[in-house]
């Protein structure tokens, strides 16, 4: 049936499961008790799936895009890292004005979080490990931080180590483009053993979670390691959001 809504029909195609993580992950025992036993039901997409909050910045405070220093300027321990990239939809159209939340362990592999209170590693008083940025008119974002340390997954008898990674929470255009993911660093030997990174069956999918090094001469300053990490959220749109 021809209707004004016809262009919406394929805007949010289902994910290709090969490019997304398995829900049950061997050796990651929490998945076994939290993943539903029954396969999910399919439903038609309706308006509440292809819409989402556009003005979240009204509610969520701006946060910081420089995690490497305290508000009063004290520098965190660790290797300075600048991460930049673009937030895009499946057509390569920039997603502008979207909030990206960032959180990570400190250089020693310790989170400033009550769940990490038993960590054997020290807190860095100058590192909160949490930031927020908003994508600009070209969908670009960037933040400055320190390279997170690796750490053993708490209370895991198999001594599974998480490689250095940065958590990302992205809102995108709408309910169906909501994405929570993790960014990994290229060439880290722990990447090959990480149960979370390797829960994505498709090697190309895993590559999409690994940042690309930025040549030193392209960086605005000499004291940082640079990485580029584009993030693609689900969705096809005719025009960039906000027009």
């Amino acid at each position: 049936m021809a209707s004004p809504s016809a262009p919406f029909a394929n805007r949010f195609a289902p994910y290709d499961d090969r490019t997304q993580p398995a829900m049950r992950v061997e050796g990651y025992r929490e998945t076994l008790v939290r993943v539903p036993a029954r396969a999910p039901y399919t439903r038609p997409a309706t308006l509440s799936d292809i819409t989402g909050p556009l003005n979240l910045a009204q509610k969520l405070d701006a946060g910081v895009s420089d995690l490497s220093r305290t508000p009063s300027g004290e520098r965190a321990q660790g290797q300075l890292v600048r991460v930049c990239g673009q937030l895009l939809d499946e057509d390569g159209v920039p997603v502008r004005g979207s909030i990206i939340e960032v959180w990570q362990a400190n250089a020693a592999g310790r989170y400033l979080h009550k769940m990490d209170a038993k960590s054997p590693f020290p807190v860095d008083p100058n590192f909160s490990g949490a930031g927020r940025c908003v994508t600009d008119a070209q969908g670009r974002y960037e933040y400055l931080t320190i390279k997170p340390g690796a750490y053993p997954v708490p209370s895991h008898p198999e001594r599974w180590w998480r490689p250095p990674h940065i958590h990302l929470s992205v809102f995108g255009e709408g309910f169906m483009s909501r994405l929570v993911t993790q960014m990994f660093f290229p060439g880290d030997p722990l990447n090959a053993q990480d149960r979370i990174l390797n829960s994505v069956p498709d090697p190309a999918g895993r590559e999409r979670m690994i940042a690309q090094p930025v040549p030193m001469l392209e960086l605005p300053r000499a004291d940082v390691l640079g990485f580029r990490h584009d993030i693609v959220v689900r969705g096809h749109r005719a025009t960039p959001m906000g027009l």
């Binding site: 993943v35 039901y41 399919t42 057509d91 979080h113 708490p154 959220v233």
Partner: protein, 210 residues
């Protein structure tokens, strides 16, 4: 940018678990009160009938899933979204954002204050959507979010709702319907409902393909 994008086909970045370390201070004081559209004190309240929803999230064996995250997304009291994909977005309540977020407590408890959403004629399916709230659950151990929908009791439109009917078993469908309840933390001027979210096991909540 005036460039053509039509021939570009990118694959979405894989989802990953939110893990156990989502920063506690990311949960703002009014993030679970959808009647407040802005963190700015003195902001206007959303129009509509106030609703309080509370319940617990459980994993297998009815173990509370604490330190999880519940997010909501819903239309305003008139059934409209303040988003350009809604043909009626110009009529949406500017004082209602429709989004909320909440960490689950030690006993798995979550709660939200919101307005009762309006139903709407859905331009994608041609069907009538009953009043409903889209719900996302995130947690360590969940590599992808879980998505379910809350419906309201005694709502005639439920019977024709295409998402409600996507769950064929009426007994399972019932697990998406909010239950009137007396809840200690409900504001006096709100209609209170309870609904537990069971990730796995007996009375498992129906979840949808995301």
């Amino acid at each position: 940018m005036g460039t053509k994008h039509a021939d570009v086909k990118l694959v979405p970045t894989p989802s990953c678990t939110v893990g156990p370390f989502f920063p506690a201070h990311y949960f703002g004081a009014t993030d679970n009160d959808l009647t407040v559209a802005s963190a700015v004190p003195g902001a206007q309240r959303a129009a509509g009938s106030k609703v309080y929803i509370g319940g617990c999230v459980y994993e297998a064996g009815r173990v509370p899933r604490w330190n999880g995250i519940v997010e909501l997304w819903q239309p305003d009291a008139g059934g409209r979204f303040n988003h350009p994909n809604d043909p009626q977005h110009g009529l949406a309540d500017r004082n209602f954002m429709g989004w909320g977020r909440r960490a689950t407590e030690d006993d798995g408890y979550y709660d939200f204050i919101t307005v009762r959403p309006g139903g709407y004629e859905d331009p994608l399916t041609g069907a009538t959507r009953a009043p409903h709230i889209n719900v996302s659950v995130m947690s360590s151990g969940l590599m992808r979010r879980l998505v379910t929908v809350f419906f309201f009791p005694d709502e005639l439109a439920n019977a024709g709702d295409p998402v409600f009917n996507a769950v064929p078993d009426p007994a399972v469908r019932e697990r998406m319907i909010l239950k009137p309840a007396k809840l200690d933390r409900a504001p006096a001027d709100a209609t209170a409902y309870r609904l537990d979210i069971v990730l796995q096991g007996e009375d498992e909540t129906p979840f949808f393909v995301d």
